[in-house]
Amino acid sequence: MLSQLTSQFPANDFTLLAAVLLLPLIGAFVCGIFGKRLGKEGVRLMALSAVFGSFIASVVTFIMVAAAPHTATKAARLSWKAWHWFDVTGRGRSVVPIDVSFSVDALSATMMLIVTGVGFLIHLYSTGYMAKDEGFYRFFAYLNLFIFSMLVLILGDNLLVLFVGWEGVGLCSYLLIGFWFDDEKKAAAGKKAFIANRIGDFGLLVAMAMLVYYAGTLSWDGLEAAQSAMAEQRTVWSASYLREFPDWLVWLRDLVTPEQPVRMMVATMVALALFIGCIGKSAQIPLFVWLPDAMAGPTPVSALIHAATMVTAGIYLVCRTSFIFALSPLAMAVVAGTGALTALFAASIAFAQTDLKKVLAYSTVSQLGFMFIGVGVGAFAAGFFHVITHAFFKGCLFLCAGSVIHAMHARVHDETASQDMRNMGGLRKYMPITHMTFLVSCLAIAGFPLTSGFWSKDELLFKAFTNTIVPLNPNIITPPLWYGQMIYAIGIVAAVGTAFYMFRAYFMTFHGDFRGWSIVAGFKPPAHDDHHDDDHADHDEPLEGPVPHESPRSMTVPLIILAFFAAIGGFVYAEPLHQVWPLEMFVSLEHFWSPVFATASKFVTTRPGSEAMMWPLLGVGAGVSLFGIGAAYWVYIVQKGEPAKAFVARAGGLHRLVLDKWRIDELYDATILGLIDAMGDIAAQCDRWIVDGIIAKLTSGVVKVTGHALRLLHTGRVQVYAASMVVGTAVIGWYVFTPHAEATIDARRVRPQGQVRFEAAAGHGYRYRWHIDGETVPDIFSGRRNFSMQLERCEQKTAVLTIKNAFDREAVTTYTQCRESKPGCCKPTDTPAPKKEALLGRVDGGVR
């Protein structure tokens, strides 16, 4: 069976990927174009079967990847080249071909399984959740398109194909956030997500440009092989970049010019640029603001895109390019540090939120931070494993939240009120399945021992404590040794927070008494109260309503499946367990992935004695989660929430600040968005006032002076336009009228022979006069552009170039050169400082 498949789909022409990719695309196409005609049943069938078909193909692919021959250092890779896309020119005019090609290895095989599998469950759930929505077909078209884009992102064999998918998922996310575009807020949320992602994309584009230039390829295999190019040190900032500076700005040059040229490793630059992309997509500090707002979309979208799959694309990208990141300890430290800070910061915001989806949103941001801690400390497998477990438990949590909101919608239609945990409570009696699955997932995210979250979070925090990144050579900047422990400490604090706020949400939602409305048995909704009626959210008298209902089966089945995996999913990557009970299953995933990270792991070592630390740290992890859960139990069940109220009363200001998310949004609005708006305003005002105003006034002034007759022509604004053209022509004319004395300096031979050569720039009608400062000035101008100057050792001379142009106007430039045979032997002489100082003999080539 497998051998037949292998012969059907050889490793270098693995067309099965086409099926994986195209099925969702066809689904999106059919649902989007014919959706209205197909009807809901047809759309449901189409969308579900497309994703399910893709899932089946993914399973087959996964099995084939697992069975494909691989070694400990070389991962199996099945690839399929669709077509040759285009060429770009790289360094030294080399041609860099870019193909539309896809490939799958252990990492992407796992991820595609998650995307199609969880994706299918969420599709299934949505058929229930969205059943009454009129945009049903549009929703499934977008959702299928999302699955397609995400698969392109995962399966792309080079960075550009990944980027296409990256943009595609961004577009789908944008469309789905604004799916119910009935209010301004959601449109604004969509826009915010878009802008944050554009900033990230900029980083990705820069990274691509650098990779094309330095590595000459964008494909994963090629990049992995291009390690030497990646390890190159390049000057990124040196004095020579600011040679030509006008006199009145010289102080600025001196201010920003470093003593030594700043050099950076290519890998560091590329990795940091890539990471900017990851920050945007995976909602890390400082670009995390879009993700909580993105929860404005339908809840299944939050579960699929903004929790389980798309937002983890950043971690996927870091893992995919782990061989670049691992080269640079600095970039790794930035990744881990950003992750740790985000984990802590987002957890702190989640403490005060009362909107159930907002709590989950901030917890997602926080968990993404944990993942970046993992990949940032070199525990790529552990970090990515957290992606997988997170997909299960966070997907499940969001779907549970959706189920609760669905129930709340029976009487509360206002969106804010239906998601407010203060209106819930006691739901465990009414929604047993939702309650159980929510509890299981909460335990998993809190890291309760033996759940999936416990294994993944503990593994990556353990690695944060013990791992160090070994630099390729001692010149490379590395973080201090205690950095890992610090990350660990922040992670532990964030983990306590996670356990606490998740159980706060659990207790507030499912325990205590129901606070949404007073339950009346056999309640019949009033006749006028159809589903779209929003008007009774602010009634003063207590609302009456039916017994809250459990969701339909299409919604509970995905919950059960996801909760099941959230509970037991961790056993495929439970290294501590493997030590007491050497069963292959406990390390199977790690072994499956290890060839993918083989290149990167060469740079990762564990500090001595880390084996012994394993059990104590595991204990700390378990203790942390139990402590957090216990604290939440004490505050919200034993004390009925009194301590929390007391805290709010005592430190109201702090509470408000946290509730307002530390006012980060306001800060951005005031600074960055304000700046952009201001710039646009300035330009528009310029057009209106400077051009229309000043120039118009100027012309009218001129018109006044020249006489009355011309004023008769001054009827419209067309003169202004003409005036602007005249000014433009005059400026061009002025440029040509002004002589520009510039010369190329060839100082290659200044040290050995003491000879400096100059060549003045050419121009129509230019005549030149060269002399050395202090010597006699020839009085004739000639067509000779070249000049050379002979220097003794440690001698400094100034060459003076005078240019006379076609209009007999003159310009002078001076070039001071020194033969610096010993460092520092050139002393500025007593002569007054030359007007325009060129670089000292440090230039190692002619700079134009």
């Binding site: 770009v88 009935d182 336009y721 053209m725 129509h764 076609a806």
Partner: protein, 502 residues
């Protein structure tokens, strides 16, 4: 004079004669009172004429202009080389799409008068002459033939004050610019004694007498100013938004697409043939720094102002100015990277032609009589009411914004890569930053279409029904996609064409 002259200028002849024929059919056709207006058949006729022109040009491309004996007979007044043929195809494409758009737009908005089509055809013919002109005289004739038709098309909506005003403004300033150009040309003739572009270039290369340098520089300034007007570079751009907004949308599309491409063809010819010598391309007295400054100003000002517009049509007008700025970056790169830069410019113009014509076409399709889509608010909620229209509009906007895998992405990519190859890193960075800035206002249209509901009581734009407009959009969409997915072959065509100019 041999027969093969007619082969050599066949695309031009096909278009012109087709135009005459259509004129005659229009005036002699008898129409029943209840029949459709003249657009119903003239639009198709015009499109077929343009298509025939493009096909003829392509046929000549395959034959190879070097194999045409007649090509030498019309030189230097009309140069028949791959450069000309490439532009013939682009211009016919732009003109043909404009004809299809007019076929839907004019009857819908009660402007259905047959004159529009001959004007369109003869403007296109003028543009083709302009693109192939190798002599100042034919260049000027081409320029004026093209411009006169366009002036009339801008003012085609005779009853509208705005349209008339736009036409007058465009006409006045256009004449001003033509005068500058002509004066520059006259000075060049005075200095070199030649009118053929190549001859002037050779004379400048050989050097002029020392007293004439000043006049030469002055002529360069005047010609640059005239060219900058025609490609609507800042600060010579101010007519553009008014004229684009006042003109009926098919005419706007024609101006944004064909007129601009022809102007860039003229610019390339003049800058390369006349001012291609080392002195004229030096950064001291040459045009590169001037064009670089124009490029930066054009991109930045146009993008910033475009973001503040409330009318989509005006926004697209500013966006076309901004695109001219991107192309100007490629023009600067000509000096260091002649082949690839010029190829990238021409590819850009091709991709820009299909994207922009598509965007204007989609805007036409969004509105019907009395319910024309002009402002962002008019488009609110369109994605929900008419998903197909909104989808195709978004597609063209994404191409204009330069998102892969559309034509616009590769246009920008090639321009950026050629400018980096030419060592113009600052310009390349500014171009990329500007395209990020531009994404904002293109996406704003999509935001309105997909994420807003129309305000209560606001007039709702209702998409029109027209097979012509749909056909035009289909052509554009296919072209955008094909250029985006397989850019290599059209790029190599553009580079072939570029090499013809050296």
């Amino acid at each position: 004079m041999s027969d093969s002259v007619f082969f050599a200028i066949a695309p031009l002849l096909v278009v012109s004669l087709g135009g005459l024929l259509l004129m005659m059919t229009e005036v002699f056709a008898t129409r029943r009172a209840d029949a459709d207006g003249p657009s119903s058949d003239l639009a198709m006729g015009t499109f077929i004429t343009m298509l025939a022109g493009a096909i003829t040009a392509f046929a000549l491309w395959l034959v190879g202009p070097d194999n045409l004996a007649g090509a030498k007979a019309v030189a230097p007044y009309l140069l028949v080389d791959r450069f000309t043929l490439f532009f013939d195809m682009v211009l016919c494409l732009g003109g043909g799409i404009a004809a299809l758009l007019a076929g839907g737009y004019l009857p819908e908005h009660k402007l259905d008068r047959g004159e529009f089509y001959p004007l369109l055809i003869f403007s296109t013919a003028g543009a083709m002459v302009l693109a192939s002109a190798g002599d100042l005289l034919s260049l000027f004739i081409g320029l004026e033939t093209m411009s006169l038709g366009v002036y009339a098309m801008v003012g085609f909506r005779r009853g509208s004050m705005r349209s008339t005003e736009a036409a007058i403004k465009y006409f006045l300033l256009g004449s001003f610019a033509a005068a500058l150009l002509m004066y520059g040309g006259a000075l060049l003739y005075g200095v070199t004694g030649k009118t053929a572009l190549a001859g002037i270039g050779a004379a400048i290369r050989a050097g002029v007498s020392s007293t004439d340098w000043g006049i030469l520089l002055l002529s360069m300034v005047l010609i640059l100013a005239g060219l900058a007007f025609k490609v609507s570079a800042v600060p010579f751009h101010m007519w553009t938004p008014d004229a684009y907004e006042g003109a009926p949308t098919p005419a706007t599309s024609f101006m944004a697409v064909a007129v601009k491409s022809a102007a860039f063809a003229m610019m390339l010819r003049v800058l390369i043939s006349v001012f291609g010598d080392p002195l004229s391309t030096s950064w001291g007295t040459g045009w590169p720094p001037v064009v670089a400054l124009l490029a930066v100003l054009t991109m930045t000002v146009a993008n910033l102002v475009a973001g503040r517009q409330s009318s989509v049509k005006r926004m697209l007008a500013y966006s076309s100015v901004a695109h001219a700025g991107y192309v100007l970056v490629g023009v600067v790169a000509l000096v260091e990277e002649p082949g690839t830069a010029q190829g990238s410019i021409m590819f850009y113009l091709l991709s820009y032609t299909v994207s922009t014509a598509g965007a204007f076409g989609a805007l036409i399709l969004c509105g019907s009589r009395g319910k024309e889509a002009v402002s962002y608010e008019d488009l609110a909620g369109l994605g929900k009411r008419h998903p197909a229209v909104a989808l195709i509009f978004s597609f063209f906007l994404l191409s204009l914004a330069g998102m892969p895998p559309t034509a616009g992405f590769f246009g920008k990519l090639y321009i950026v890569s050629s400018s980096i190859g030419a060592g113009l890193h600052t310009l390349a960075v500014l171009l990329v930053l500007n395209s990020v800035l531009a994404a904002y206002y293109y996406l704003r249209v999509m935001e309105y279409m997909y994420m807003r509901e129309p305000a209560a009581g606001a007039p709702i734009a209702v998409p029109m029904r027209s097979g012509y407009v749909r056909a035009a959009l289909a052509i554009c969409a296919v072209a955008v996609l094909v250029l985006g997915l397989w850019p290599t072959s059209s790029l190599s065509m553009a580079i072939d064409a570029a090499l013809a100019l050296r």
